[in-house]
Amino acid sequence: MSKGVLYDANKCIGCRACQVACKQWNEMPAETTTNTGSCENPPKVSAYTLTKIRFNELEHDGKFHWVFTKIQCMHCEHPACAEACLVGAFQKTPEGAVVYDDNKCIGCRYCMVACPFGIPCYQWDDPMPWVRKCSFCADRQSAGLKPACVTTCPTGALKYGERDDLIDEAHQRIAANRDKYVDHVYGEHEVGGTSWLYLSPVPFEKLGMPVVGQEAVTVNVERAMGAVPPVLVGVAAIMSGVYWLVKRRQQPGGEGAPNDKEQVEVPK
């Protein structure tokens, strides 16, 4: 059993206490921002802003909606970041969190490119940069605490618990209130499932959540990497074989033989 968080956009009031709590727990500096005509700031998650609330003003079913969306690492069941990282700096823990280790990372940023949700961020302004993303507050969890954002959330829009239970509860909430929720628990199946789950009153693409398939993004990589040992052995064997054959054929005929053949072809 692994932990998860259920984020219910129907219960989120966009107060952004979670955003500040995350900064506080993780001792992250404030970013310099400007108001560009939106309540939203900082504009994006970054190495110094591991979570943020997106404000979406949209039309759905002929009705105006203002829906908030919390963005942070999804803690994939099959994390691309962890599969990608050559040094294994990212690890999916059995408890659900995908955690990162400064002591392994070399800064290649493959994890950032690989993540289907665009989550890991980089300390671009630092000559000695590290990758940063939401850690699911693994440190707090291991001390028996809930993630900082969950603890702070005033409305219960964030609920922490066993992932399986949360999925059940999410479906119950939908069933109990069909006209308030779209019938979709985002993260239940997305990219093979994620530890963080979402409920929403409008289709998720309208919230800017990536439209992703149900298959883990790591499947094809795993297949390809599985082929490495046979390819290694196979290619080595074939090349040795070819060499041996060619050598044997060349022995009596001498060096010129194959060349002659080609020279015949050229003038055609």
Partner: protein, 806 residues
């Protein structure tokens, strides 16, 4: 709040009007969300689509300043529906627990928007006399509610003018949405259902703010929603401990515990008590109701005043000297002592020195240009604050040469909330004790300590100067704290039995013979010998038999730890809860008395009590029933529609009385705008991310990151009209001044159809100023120096303005 935060979860319908609770009281949404999980409907009424509206089942836009029309139409809808479908309402509650059945003076006249004759901004005494009951001591009632002079019929007549079409023409609310609101909210009137109203500054900051609140009260009483779990009218209080500060008299018209302030002419204690009407002789007992006696709790006020004087003057207060009543300053009835009045007096050079304690008048009050100029007229200014503020730095504000300002400014560094111990009273009236977490930085001191040192010094100086004016009043004060602690003050507020020296057990034990003291009768019982400091209790269990979320051993709440006030109205005449699922008090029997919450008087249910002891439920009213008909206000017994002081309309669509005739209108640097020059409705408000004048948040990087700049919200149509794009810098102007801000162009503000024309709102954030880390223009440069007829709360919420690209 008549109820409390957790109780919101018991509501079947929640109407948030005049409040943006999701943003300004985020934690309230813990309970709103819980109620909604159980099927409650949420209605949001606001000129803007806010974060609160985003969670609502129904969002009804309205023009700022038109709450009375909006609610009046609902009242009209309900009064009509009551006659057609009485089964949908709790008619027993309406007839027995409110003054609906009471017969009013037949000379009462309402003509063209006025409740009588107005002279110098006041209704004359003769007119006010007609607002009262026909029989002022023992009013007759007609429980069939048919008598044309009974309150119910007078209201029917009054609100018949508030038909949905007229109302929507005033408020700009789409009619279908409006009717949906009426229907949905009226459903909470069914016996056993509860609806609650959450309101705050959107309601009160108007020249008729008090009547706005009254209109909610009328609505709630008609629906039987007062005193019940999940009901009530719930003022979401503002700045931290503002509830405590009003309880403790941080307003110009009251003494601690909502005792009246003495006025010139209150020559002695008895005269004073008589004038305030808070005495046993003022009891009014309606005739013909099932309940036959009013407890008129305020009849006890002399005990509370005397105990207060004992707390203040100690041994110097004796029966012979009227307990030192002569020491109290007396107010001049012609002077307005409120914030606006004070600034005007400063502007005119009448007030020469100012203490500013945890406040920022240079941008918090209305008409900042006026207020800032007025500060320059002072000889001296002292601020006690945890930051440098626009007020303490007013003399070097942009555009001003410090050399031109003669005011001498002192800044006293104060300890912040984590650096001191004490109680904070929340909106639910819960006094919650907090401990000191860290030592104050630098020279900072707890406000209490600053005050105590200061007072000792002042007494010393007065002691030394025999000719000092008012000397006796100062040296008579009992000020022997030594090193003062919050605990000492808490005990003093609770009060003592002076004969035993023990803490007083409750205000029931306070006497008017000088043998008890109490700094605030309402808080008497918070600190007892038996239980110690009950504000410090931290038992989270809910002991209520109905599990309605009372948590009565968590902190302590006034009065007497009663969590839902007027809870005797939550049961029928036989004492059975209207709502058996969410009973507040229940299971009365003559031995064990009531179970559940502390009842508003432990008497038997009306039908079980003996003749002459059937106590009416609304104990704080002399008539024992709640007032649909509120004759005690200065501006009329019923809420009536007026336009704001600055209105986009050239007339009142209801009558010829355009503005509240009793509103306070300032005259110091207070120009009035016209719709020709300033065509748009300006309104000011808050956002989650900042606090008030911003002093406390604009220097916190994490909050500045969230909301870095002063911004103004405008609708898309207005933006197109004005060639403004989202994110542009714009200038908003009013007759008082102009400000610069970032334009936030949004669909959340829609033009409203009012009197045949489109009305645009301009939403101005209230958190910026020139001090601190993130700076910007203050909203209050735009707002006028006008105030409510009853309280003088400034009309921050509606004024006229114009916008243009910078």
């Amino acid at each position: 709040m008549t109820n409390h935060w957790i109780d919101l979860r018991n509501a079947d319908c929640i109407m948030i009007i005049g409040s943006n609770a999701a943003e300004n009281h985020p934690i309230s949404f813990k309970w709103v969300t819980e109620a909604m999980d159980k099927g409650a409907k949420l209605i949001s009424v606001d000129p803007r689509f806010t974060r609160t509206s985003s969670k609502a089942d129904i969002y009804a836009p309205m023009r700022s300043g038109t709450d009375i029309a909006f609610i009046g139409g609902m009242i009209n809808y309900i009064l009509n529906d009551m006659e057609n479908n009485p089964g949908n309402y709790n008619m027993e509650y309406v007839t027995q627990y409110t003054n609906a059945a009471c017969i009013v003076n037949p000379n009462f006249k309402f003509t063209d928007g006025l409740f009588g004759e107005v002279e110098n901004g006041k209704y004359n005494t003769a007119s006010k006399g007609t607002w009262k009951y026909a029989n002022t001591a023992t009013p007759a009632t007609d429980t069939t509610l048919k008598d044309p002079d009974c309150v119910f019929q007078l209201m029917k007549k009054h609100y018949s003018r508030y038909d949905a079409d007229t109302v929507c023409d005033i408020t700009g609310t789409p009619k279908d949405v409006y009717l949906e609101v009426c229907q949905t909210y009226a459903a909470s009137g069914r016996t056993g259902k509860a609806g609650t109203i959450m309101y705050a500054m959107g309601t009160t900051q108007h020249t008729y703010g008090t009547q706005n609140v009254r209109s909610y009260a009328v609505l709630q009483l008609l629906l039987g929603n007062m005193g019940v779990a999940g009901g009530g009218i719930n003022a979401l209080r503002g700045t931290s401990n503002v509830q405590g500060s009003t309880d403790m008299c941080l307003l110009a018209h009251i003494l601690p515990g909502y005792l009246n302030v003495p006025m010139e002419g209150d020559t002695d204690l008895d005269t004073y008590i008589l004038r305030t009407g808070k005495h046993a002789g003022a009891t009014i007992t309606p005739q013909g109701l099932a309940g036959d006696v009013s407890s008129n709790w305020w009849g006890n006020s002399r005990k509370y005043v005397v105990s207060l004087l004992k707390a203040w003057y100690g041994d110097a207060a004796t029966a012979d000297n009227d307990f030192g009543f002569h020491n109290l300053p007396k107010c001049d009835p012609s002077v307005n002592y409120t914030h606006i009045g004070m600034i005007e007096a400063m502007g005119r050079g009448i007030v020469k020195g100012l203490w500013v304690w945890g406040q920022n008048p240079a941008s918090g009050g209305p008409n900042s240009n006026g207020a800032r100029t007025a500060l320059g007229n002072l000889d001296w200014l002292v601020t006690a604050d945890i930051w440098m503020t626009e007020t303490s730095e007013f003399w070097k504000r942009p555009g001003v040469d410090p050399a031109d300002i003669g005011t001498e400014v002192f800044v006293l560094p104060a300890a912040c909330s984590y650096e001191k111990e004490g109680s904070i009273s929340n909106s639910g009236r819960w006094a919650q004790w907090r401990y000191k977490a860290v030592e104050p930085l630098g020279d900072a001191m707890a406000d209490l300590e600053i005050m105590s040192i200061l007072m000792s010094k002042i007494q010393e100086l007065y002691q030394a100067d025999a000719s000092a004016p008012g000397r006796q009043a100062i040296i008579d004060l009992e000020w022997d704290y030594g090193h003062v602690t919050a605990d000492m003050i808490a005990r003093e507020i609770n009060g003592y039995d002076l004969t035993t020296g023990k803490l007083a057990v409750s205000f029931g034990a306070l006497k008017d013979d000088g043998t008890t003291s109490s700094g605030n009768w309402l808080y008497c019982n918070m600190y007892t010998e038996e239980d110690g400091n009950k504000a410090a209790r931290r038992n989270p269990a809910d002991m209520h038999p109905g599990k309605i979320g009372l948590h009565s051993e968590w902190s302590w709440c006034w009065p007497l730890n009663r969590r839902i006030i007027y809870n005797r109205a939550s049961v029928d005449l036989d004492g059975n809860p209207w709502d058996s699922e969410h009973p507040v008090i229940l299971d009365y029997d003559s031995v064990t008395k009531w179970k559940g919450d502390i009842p508003d008087g432990g008497w038997a249910p009306i039908n079980q009590a003996a003749e002459g002891a059937k106590y009416l439920p609304f104990i704080m009213k002399p008539e024992g029933v709640a007032r649909l008909w509120g004759y005690g206000r200065t501006d009329g017994p019923l809420p009536e529609v007026y336009e704001p002081w600055e209105s986009p309309l050239d007339r009142n669509l209801m009558s010829d009385a355009k503005n509240n005739p009793c509103a306070f209108v300032g005259t110091y640097m207070n120009d009035r705008g016209t719709p020709e020059r300033f065509p748009y409705v300006g309104t000011t408000y808050r956002c989650s991310e900042h606090w008030q004048t911003g002093v406390m948040t604009r220097s916190l990087p994490w909050l500045v990151e969230l909301m870095p700049d002063m911004y103004v919200e405008i609708g898309e149509d207005l933006a197109v009209e004005k060639g403004i794009s989202n994110g542009d810098t714009i200038i908003v102007s009013s007759a008082r001044g102009e400000i610069q801000a970032v334009a936030m162009v949004t669909r959340r503000l829609q033009p409203l159809q009012v009197d045949g024309k489109a009305i645009h709102h301009v939403g101005v954030l209230n958190h910026w100023g020139y001090s601190g880390m993130a700076t910007g223009d203050s909203a209050n440069i735009l707002t006028p120096h006008v105030g409510d007829a009853n309280t003088t709360i400034p009309e921050f919420k509606t004024f006229l303005c114009n916008v243009r690209r910078a």
